[in-house]
């Protein structure tokens, strides 16, 4: 059982941030979420978010030693031994301790309108898919592709890592723009595609990104929001140049 000295940022909306110190013992194969829970067992006033413990709900994102992570999938073995600093995400208002207010973020996600499932285009071992015969609850068979939840878990890590967002409220943010990109990629309806490009073209859209690429580096799901933003830019430039020549 490794012993760990943990500094946790404590804060309430009306107080200054300070650090509390916890000495905890966790199993060798523990993940960082277990460390947070061990601190909570010592002080139940410690506020933190968590639910699934396997990086699907996206609630538990925090900064560990300055880096944004989902603590539920970061093993202790991957952290420096002995001590650890845990802080809430940046660029969000703090509700309490490690809990941040995600409402503005989800309002933007709703505006971006990413559907939360996608068709699985290839099998789990990488071969392209034939639609499968799936059972319906009425007992009939239906031929269609398997579906699965999107890669993005809406954890907010990319927003915390984004330096542009540290100075402006207007920016739609990496996750939101990546959601616009997914919706744009997915639909074949030209009117809808044009409307999504308009959304990306607005003030606070793709042009406000300054290309630090931290969102894609920090993303725990390899979702590449920066790549999505640049893709949208390319599509927009093509459209604008096309318009210049009356196309």
């Amino acid at each position: 059982m490794p012993k760990l000295h943990v500094r946790v940022q404590r804060q309430r909306p009306d107080t200054q941030a300070r650090y509390d110190h916890f000495d905890v013992e966790v199993p060798d194969d523990a993940n960082v979420i277990d460390v947070i829970e061990a601190c909570w067992r010592q002080d139940q006033n410690l506020m933190y978010r968590h639910a699934c413990h396997h990086a699907s709900c996206g609630t538990c994102a925090v900064r560990v030693d300055g880096k944004e992570v989902l603590p539920c999938i970061v093993p202790l073995a991957a952290c420096k031994p002995g001590d650890m600093t845990i802080e809430p995400l940046r660029n969000f208002p703090v509700v309490g301790d490690l809990v941040v207010d995600v409402s503005a973020f989800f309002q933007r996600q709703a505006a971006a309108g990413m559907v939360i499932t996608r068709d699985a285009e290839e099998t789990i071992d990488g071969h392209p898919f034939e639609p499968s015969e799936l059972l319906q609850p009425d007992g009939k068979l239906e031929r269609r592709h398997y579906n699965r939840f999107e890669n993005c878990v809406e954890c907010g890590i990319c927003l915390s890592a984004c330096p542009t967002l540290s100075a402006t409220d207007g920016f739609f943010g990496p996750a939101g723009l990546a959601a616009v990109h997914r919706a744009w990629e997915k639909t074949t309806d030209e009117t809808e595609r044009a409307a999504l490009l308009d959304l990306a073209d607005r003030e606070g859209g793709v042009w406000q990104c300054h290309g630090a690429f931290e969102c894609s580096e920090a993303c725990p799901q390899d979702f590449d929001p920066a790549g999505a933003i640049m893709d949208l830019r390319r599509a927009l430039i093509r459209r604008k140049v096309g318009a210049l020549f009356g196309r």
Partner: protein, 131 residues
């Protein structure tokens, strides 16, 4: 009122622009561009102040030219040139990425351009101190 629906004001911390702790290549490039950009703006202002010496008269201008040839100011010129090269070359990469080009290769492009920049800077340093 629900806890999560209060839409509290978000803290703004522009200093995070240049906070590269725990960050990776892209952020270093981003921060370098902010720092050099600000530096070049300051320089531009100084440049105008210096040029305005021309209005004061020949003596003022000559004393400025003498000052400009001192080794300290020449060293400052090297720093200035470094800023110019970094900002210009990195800006080229940002523009390229902005057009959706070389996005997945952005790190390699950055290192490549910085290597070119280092050669340019070495050459210009020699020139600055020998001419």
């Amino acid at each position: 009122m629900s806890l999560h629906s209060t839409n509290r004001a978000r803290p703004r911390k522009p200093l995070q622009w240049i906070d590269v702790r725990n960050r990776r290549t892209g952020m270093w490039a981003f921060a370098l561009n902010r720092v050099t950009g600000l530096g070049l703006v300051v320089y531009l202002f100084l440049h105008f102040v210096m040029l305005s010496q021309l209005f004061v008269g020949r003596a003022a201008w000559d004393s400025f030219v003498a000052l400009a040839r001192s080794p300290l100011v020449l060293a400052f010129d090297v720093v200035l040139f470094a800023g110019l090269i970094i900002h210009g070359l990195n800006g080229f990469r940002v523009a390229l990425n902005g057009f959706g080009l070389g996005v997945r290769q952005q790190k390699a492009i950055f290192y490549g351009l910085m290597a070119v920049g280092a050669v340019l800077l070495a050459a210009s340093t020699v020139l600055i101190f020998t001419i």
